[in-house]
Each structure stands twice: as structure tokens, then as C-alpha cells.
């Protein structure tokens, strides 16, 4: 019997990792991606990838990595998969090393490691400050090799629209649209893996790439897949505020010794270098003496908010603080952080070797995502998820440099499991539901292209982003979340009167965007309503009206199910697997 066909959607680290494992095991893969896979959002990851290799004589272990990750995530992550990830991480680094990733090296030719947030160990392997790019390229090259051997067929420039689900509720393939010809097509498969990344676009401006809309997750959510912990959104403490996006300024800047500060005197308008040490407030070092500038991201982000909005100490009264590298010598900076310093200089026009950078928190990472079991499978049999689009490795807050390892680990796990699933699955009845699903998608497209009304999809998107950023990022109030949900409902209504200024059937980007927008709106409600339900503060989710963690009520995964009803998704709470590490209070002013 021929090897079953597996479909992988998304060509970032998780998707490519899955493809490699399937091809290696003799399966055949159709790989779908909106952009050429080498341009996927994983390229934006900067600082590094965690693995307890203990090459610095510190006594680091995978158990310590596991504990740091669970503690950093405020105990919300299921512990079994996280433990497995931390144990697998050292071998993943070795493999990437063998694939030729140009990691930074020690004088002896071994891998170099640096410190990152939320740990006291040097656990982060890195390739300058463009680690994600280098890792993605390594996997891209391996996939190109399998492509040359005929084991992988790429569909680049195709957008996933929906899963094909048969009458028994099992995934049997996907429908997708060619973004040039606008052709709709059904692709049958024995199993489907979604590896479609984060949802930054629903916040308008974020550190994410343009394609990170969450549209694929939202589509299968509306087909019955659960979406878990949607309310957990990471706001990265150090981003460069920008006109079109918030550009990430990697945590590695602090890992290499960067210091965050503001002038002690409100409104001090001297140039930063004119301000003497004694008149600078290094607030992270002062408030968190044990971890200093390397507290986890949720902690650093709230501290910056506090210093700016409560203490009124933002630079020039603006929402910005200094991230200072000027005390580190130029050669070290260029060798270890060159890529990110170049980004700052190109987009801000100031040289961070000599002038402290001005930064502010920005939406960065989606801890929540499609609910999956410990085998990476959603509640729709045959539909798997891996990488940022699923929820299971980071709990309530992700530690820096854990995303790359979770993407590759999740991809590596999902690939062979999906292949086994497909091998043992019964043959579909008839076409497995493909014709019905294709007709449903064709109808949506036909309606959208000739829709009459006065609403511009890009304007609706901007309003969504503003609402989400205002009410559902760093600080959350129930009244604000309620307002945000009402706003989304009104945007969904206005969406019905959307008008495409472009009605052509060739490379129509507004049409593709309008389809994504509907999905973004539906998914936004899981973020907002999940946050509203969770009356506690945990990790990245912070409510001043409920400032403490409440394990009794909320040491639970939020699971959202689509209803199609104006009341929004149905939310239920599921117990968290805490069998290895007993929850304890989380603090970073002292050693844990």
C-alpha cells in the first residue's frame, strides 16, 4: 500500500519539523503555506533556543529547565508534555548543530550559551541575534532536500480555508485557495497538521508578521475544534514602537548585560548620557534583585507599565524606557547581537552602540491556541496542531527562548503520530465530505466578492486592533473586556456590509484579507471572553481587581467551543496536569 498522504499547513519551524519527520518515516507530505516557507514568521525569532546542555559547569539539568518553564508559566501548563519537551531539548540542539546552524561558539569550538529571562542558568544556544532565521533555514534546507527527492510537495502561495470533516467528525483533508488564481480546491489527506503560528494581527500592531492572523486556527475553531487559554497573550517588554508594527528588541540584549532604566526625576529632559548613574532608576534591578533585568516577560512588562503610568517616569513623559547596551564593548555587541542592533539603527536611525535604545512593551506571543491532547491532536480526530498555534507548552507565560524548542518539539512529535493515525484510519466513505466543504467555501467566496456595503476591511481591522490592545493586553478590567466584546460583535455586524474595492479574480489581496478578517473577529472573542471569565491574575493575565492567583478556582485550562450564537463561545474549565511539580507561589525578587 502506498504511504498515506499527510497535509501540513504552515512552513515555520513547527510545520517544517513535522514535514521532516514524516518524510523520514516514509510518508508523503503536501505542505501548504501562504508565503514561501523560507519567509515564515519563525525568521523573526532572535535571541536563541533553550536546552539544558550544561556546558558552562553550572549544574544545569533538564529537570531545572522543566521547573523554570512550569514556574515561569505560573503552573498553568500541563506538566507531562512540558517535561518531555525539556528532556528532548538537548538532542534537538545537537540535531540543529549537525544540520549546520551557525551557532555562536566557545574558543574550544563548542556551542556557546547565554542567559535568558526566568532562569539563573546559561541555557540558551544562539546564532548571533537571528537564531530563528538560522533555525528556519536549516529546516527549510532539509525540506528542500526531501522536495528534491519527491517526498514533499509544496503549495506555496496557497491559503488554508478549512478542514474537510466527514460525517463521523474525522478530518479527511483541507480546502485551500490559490492566492494568485483564486482557485478553490479540496485536498484529501490521511491526517492534517496545522502549524500556523500566532495571532498577533488581531491586536493590530504587534511584533508578529503580516501572516500571523490566526485565521486557520479560527477556521477550525468554527468547525468544532476547541481553542484553549485564549486569554494568555504575551506582551514582550522590549519592542521598538513603530508606525506599522512593533519591532522586537530581543531579550538577549538583556541576556548579554543590557540594563533597563529611566531618569529618577520625572520630566528629566537631559540626553541619556548626561544623566549620572545616581540619577538613573534601574527599576528591574532594584525591584527584583535576584533576577534583575532577566525577570520573565510578564513581570518586566508590568514593571515598565508601572514606572511609566503609575510613577510617571517615562522618557520625556512618553511611554518609553531606556534599554542600555552602551557599557558593552562594540566587538562583543556585534558578535552576539549584531542583527538586532542593525534593526534598531535602520528603523530608528540611532546607533544603539552609543545611545541607549528607547523601547516599550508590545504584543508578542500567543500562549493559548488550539486545544490538543498529549499526542498533539485536536478534538477533531485526524486534525493535529503544533507550534504557536496550539496551547500546551507555555502555560500562562512563555519563557524567552522556549518558543523555538516548543515549535520543533511539537512538530517532531506531531509528524510521526499523524502518520501512524493515517495508517490505521479506516478509508473515508465516498469523498470524505470534500465536495460539501468545497461548496460551502465557494459560497462564502461568491457572497464576499459581490457584497454591497460601505465598510473597508482594513479599517475594521484597525478598529479591532485598537480595541484589543486597549482592553486585552497588559492590564485587564471586566468592564473594559465587556466593552471590547461588544465592539467585536458590532464589527462582526459591520463585516456583513464589507465592500471590496477590488473584485478581480487574480492575486486579489484584499479578498484574501477579508476572509482572514472574519476569522480574526471570531477568534478575538475567545481572547476577550476567556479573560473576562478568569477572575484572577496569573502569568501574563493581570486584573488589578483580582491581583492574586486563585488556584482553587482557576488552576484550570480555559476551553472555548464555537456556538455561532451572538452570546459568543461556550467556555469550560479543564483540570491541569500537575503530577510532577506542586504549585507554589511565583516570585522573582528572591531565588525560587
Amino acid at each position: 500500500m502506498a504511504a498515506p498522504k499527510i497535509i501540513v499547513v504552515g512552513g515555520g519551524l513547527a510545520g517544517l519539523a513535522a514535514v521532516i519527520k514524516i518524510a523520514e518515516a516514509g510518508g508523503s507530505v503536501d505542505l501548504f503555506s501562504i508565503v514561501p516557507v523560507k519567509r515564515s514568521h519563525s525568521v523573526c525569532a532572535q535571541g536563541g533556543i533553550n536546552a539544558a546542555k550544561n556546558l558552562k559547569g553550572e549544574g544545569d539539568t533538564t529537570d531545572k529547565h522543566f521547573d523554570d518553564t512550569i514556574y515561569g508559566g505560573d503552573f498553568l501548563a500541563n506538566q507531562t508534555p512540558v517535561k518531555a519537551m525539556c528532556e528532548a531539548a538537548p538532542a534537538i540542539i545537537d540535531l540543529l548543530d549537525r544540520m549546520g546552524v551557525p551557532f555562536n561558539r566557545t574558543p574550544e569550538g563548542l556551542l556557546d550559551f547565554r542567559r535568558f529571562g526566568g532562569t539563573l542558568y546559561h541555557r540558551t544556544a544562539f546564532a548571533g541575534a537571528t537564531t530563528g532565521q538560522q533555525l528556519l533555514y536549516a529546516l527549510d534546507e532539509q525540506v528542500r532536500r526531501y522536495e528534491a527527492e519527491g517526498k514533499v510537495k509544496k503549495y506555496e502561495g496557497w491559503e488554508f480555508l478549512s478542514a474537510i470533516v466527514d460525517s463521523k467528525g474525522q478530518a479527511r483533508g483541507i480546502t485551500a485557495m490559490d492566492l494568485r488564481t483564486m482557485e478553490l480546491r479540496a485536498f484529501p489527506a490521511g491526517a492534517v497538521i496545522l502549524a500556523t503560528g500566532g495571532i498577533g494581527a488581531i491586536f493590530g500592531k504587534s511584533t508578529n508578521s503580516v501572516v500571523c492572523t490566526g485565521s486557520a486556527q479560527a477556521a477550525v475553531f468554527q468547525q468544532g475544534a476547541y481553542y484553549a487559554n485564549g486569554e494568555f497573550i504575551q506582551v514582550h517588554p522590549t519592542a521598538i514602537p513603530g508606525e506599522d508594527k512593533l519591532r522586537l528588541m530581543s531579550e538577549s540584549a538583556r541576556g548579554e548585560g543590557g540594563r533597563v532604566w529611566v531618569p529618577r526625576k520625572p520630566g528629566d529632559n537631559r540626553a541619556p548620557r548626561q544623566i549620572p548613574e545616581a540619577e538613573r532608576l534601574y527599576f528591574l534591578e532594584e525591584w527584583y534583585p535576584k533576577y534583575g533585568n532577566l525577570v520573565p516577560r510578564d513581570i518586566a512588562t508590568r514593571a515598565i507599565h508601572k514606572v511609566v503610568y503609575e510613577n510617571g517616569l517615562g522618557i520625556d513623559g512618553q511611554p518609553m524606557v531606556y534599554l542600555d547596551l552602551t557599557h558593552i564593548d562594540r566587538a562583543t555587541l556585534d558578535r552576539k547581537l549584531g542583527g538586532i542592533l542593525e534593526i534598531y539603527e535602520k528603523f530608528v536611525g540611532v546607533d544603539p552602540h552609543v545611545e541607549p535604545m528607547k523601547i516599550f512593551p508590545g504584543m508578542h506571543y500567543t500562549m493559548g491556541g488550539l486545544w490538543v491532547d498529549f499526542n498533539q491532536m485536536t478534538n477533531i480526530p485526524g486534525l493535529f496542531a503544533a507550534g504557536e498555534c496550539e496551547y500546551q507548552y507555555h502555560g500562562a507565560n512563555r519563557l524567552g527562548a522556549n518558543s523555538l524548542v516548543s515549535c520543533i518539539f511539537g512538530g517532531f512529535r506531531s509528524g510521526p503520530i499523524a502518520l501512524d493515525f493515517a495508517k490505521s484510519a479506516s478509508a473515508p466513505e465516498g469523498d470524505g465530505g470534500a465536495a460539501v466543504e468545497l461548496a460551502r467555501q465557494a459560497e462564502i467566496n461568491a457572497r464576499l466578492i459581490k457584497n454591497e456595503g460601505g465598510e473597508n476591511p482594513f479599517k475594521l481591522w484597525r478598529e479591532l486592533g485598537n480595541t484589543m490592545t486597549e482592553h486585552a493586553t497588559v492590564i485587564r478590567y471586566n468592564a473594559g473586556l465587556q466593552k471590547a466584546d461588544e465592539k467585536i460583535v458590532s464589527l462582526l455586524d459591520r463585516y456583513k456590509r464589507i465592500n471590496l474595492s477590488d473584485r478581480s479574480q487574480w492575486a486579489n489581496t484584499s479578498f484574501a484579507f477579508a476572509r482572514q478578517l472574519k476569522n480574526m473577529l471570531e477568534l478575538s472573542r475567545t481572547v476577550v471572553l476567556g479573560a473576562k471569565l478568569r477572575d484572577e491574575s496569573r502569568g501574563a493575565h493581570y486584573k488589578p481587581d483580582f491581583p492574586d492567583r486563585n488556584d482553587e478556582k482557576f488552576l484550570k485550562t480555559t476551553k472555548a467551543g464555537f456556538t455561532g450564537d451572538v452570546a459568543g463561545p461556550r467556555l469550560e474549565l479543564e483540570d491541569v496536569d500537575i503530577q510532577y511539580i506542586k504549585p507554589r507561589p511565583r516570585r522573582y525578587d528572591v531565588a525560587k
Partner: protein
């Protein structure tokens, strides 16, 4: 108070067979405004400077921080990345056209898949035995990493191919980006197992001898890859390989 504006002239073409035409736009100026933001402004309000309704511009973009390589286009005659091109640093009106050496899809979007095909032809990968745990990779000294890393920073934007006088249908030249990757993989302790095959792939028509040393590639590269160094190193290796192959008969 009148707001400061930016004048843009954009070359439009609805499909590969449709006629091309220029459209003028005016968008609001803001500090730090880049070309991709200006294109997004047009999508928010798709109206030309003289008030005619039009369609949003089709173009490739993704990361918006010059690392994904998507948004290469010709801006004021120069091949560059639209996201890292700040309006305040360039002359107005800003004239924007698609790259000219690649098949046009629509407006500013072109098909650059030839580069990925070239990478396949030169086996730009390290042939690992498998993804199971085989222990650490070969030792690599920092001095060697400092040679590899810059080459591995290539974002496949194809600007080097766009500006190369030799990159055209007549020569079939692979272009600088692919040659740099040959150097990268030939220098890797495991990757060099395919060294001879890679050099032979660059030895024939469209190979490295098509290079005319115009050096436009190294000037235009947004990531400052040492492209001309790579070309001369690989050129030498190709010649040596040719000589070896000749002597072997």
C-alpha cells in the same frame, strides 16, 4: 493646518498580460514612515491623488523588519526592501515599481521561485544521516563560524539578481545568492561531502563563469553579504574542479 504629505507614483499592472500604467497617490507623512506603511495607507483608502477610486496595491510583505526577504521592489530606481526604506531618507515623489527581472504577477508582486530552484540544483543543505539522536555536531571554531554566519544571513530577497547585468534569460546565470550558499555549504564539515557536485553544477552554462564582476550585487545586498568574496572563492574552486575532472578524464 495642512498636514505634510508624501507623493507616491506606483506602477500598476492587473495581471501578467494586462497593460502597465502609473498611478499617483498622496498619503499623510509621519515620522518613521516606511514604504510598506504607505502601501497600507493606500489599502485603507484606495483613491488616487486625483480622486479616482482604485484597488489596493498587490505586493509581497511579511515580517516588516527586513529579515523575511519578501518586500523587495524598485524604489526610485533602486532594488531594495520596502519595509526598511524610510520615506524621510529618500526623494519624492517616491517611484515604486516591481523588480524587473522576474515574472510579474500583479502590481509590485513578482515570482522569485527561480532562486529556490537554484538552491535545489546546488544541493544547498547539509546531508544529515537522520533526525534521531546522534550526539553533537562537528566542532566548529569561532573563526569559522564568523565566516559562515554572514553567508547564512541571506534572506533570499533577490536584490543581487535584480541588479546583476548578467542575470537574464540569455545567460541563465544563477546569480550571487546561490553562489554564496555554495560557499557556505562547501565550507561546512559535513556539507562539503557534496562539494564536487555543487562545483560541477556551477561549471556549465549559467554557472559562475557568467559573472562579469560588475559588483552591483555586493553594493545592493541589504544584509551586507560578502558576495564578491564568495564569487571569487567559488570561482577558484570551480576552476580547480574543472581541472581535476579534465585530468581524471
Amino acid at each position: 493646518m495642512a498636514t505634510k504629505t508624501v507623493q507616491l507614483e506606483i506602477k500598476r499592472q492587473a495581471s501578467p498580460d494586462a497593460p502597465a500604467a502609473w498611478e499617483k497617490f498622496e498619503v499623510e507623512w509621519r515620522p518613521g514612515l516606511n514604504v510598506t506603511s504607505a502601501l497600507m495607507d493606500i489599502a485603507l483608502n484606495p483613491v488616487t491623488a486625483d480622486g479616482h477610486a482604485t484597488t489596493p496595491i498587490t505586493y509581497d510583505s511579511n515580517c516588516l523588519e527586513e529579515i523575511c526577504g519578501s518586500c523587495a521592489m524598485r524604489i526610485n530606481g533602486k532594488a531594495r526592501m520596502a519595509c526598511s526604506t524610510l520615506i524621510e531618507n529618500i526623494e519624492q515623489p517616491v517611484r515604486i515599481e516591481p523588480l524587473s527581472k522576474f515574472p510579474l504577477v500583479r502590481d509590485l508582486q513578482v515570482d522569485r521561485s527561480v532562486l529556490f530552484e537554484n538552491l535545489k540544483a546546488v544541493r544547498a543543505w547539509v546531508p544529515v544521516d537522520g533526525t534521531y539522536d546522534l550526539g553533537p555536531g562537528p566542532r566548529v571554531f569561532p573563526q569559522q563560524q564568523e565566516v559562515s554566519y554572514p553567508l547564512s544571513n541571506c534572506i533570499s530577497c533577490t536584490c543581487c539578481m535584480e541588479v546583476c547585468p548578467q542575470f537574464n534569460e540569455e545567460t541563465g546565470f544563477v546569480g550571487a545568492a546561490t553562489i554564496a550558499q555554495v560557499k557556505l555549504f562547501n565550507n561546512h564539515p559535513t556539507g562539503k561531502v557534496f562539494k564536487e557536485e555543487r562545483l560541477r553544477a556551477l561549471a556549465g552554462d549559467g554557472g559562475i563563469q557568467e559573472c562579469g564582476y560588475a559588483q552591483n550585487c555586493v553594493e545592493v545586498c541589504p544584509k551586507q553579504l560578502p558576495l564578491t568574496n564568495a564569487i571569487s572563492d567559488v570561482s577558484r574552486d570551480v576552476l580547480i574542479q574543472k581541472a581535476k575532472d579534465f585530468l581524471r578524464g
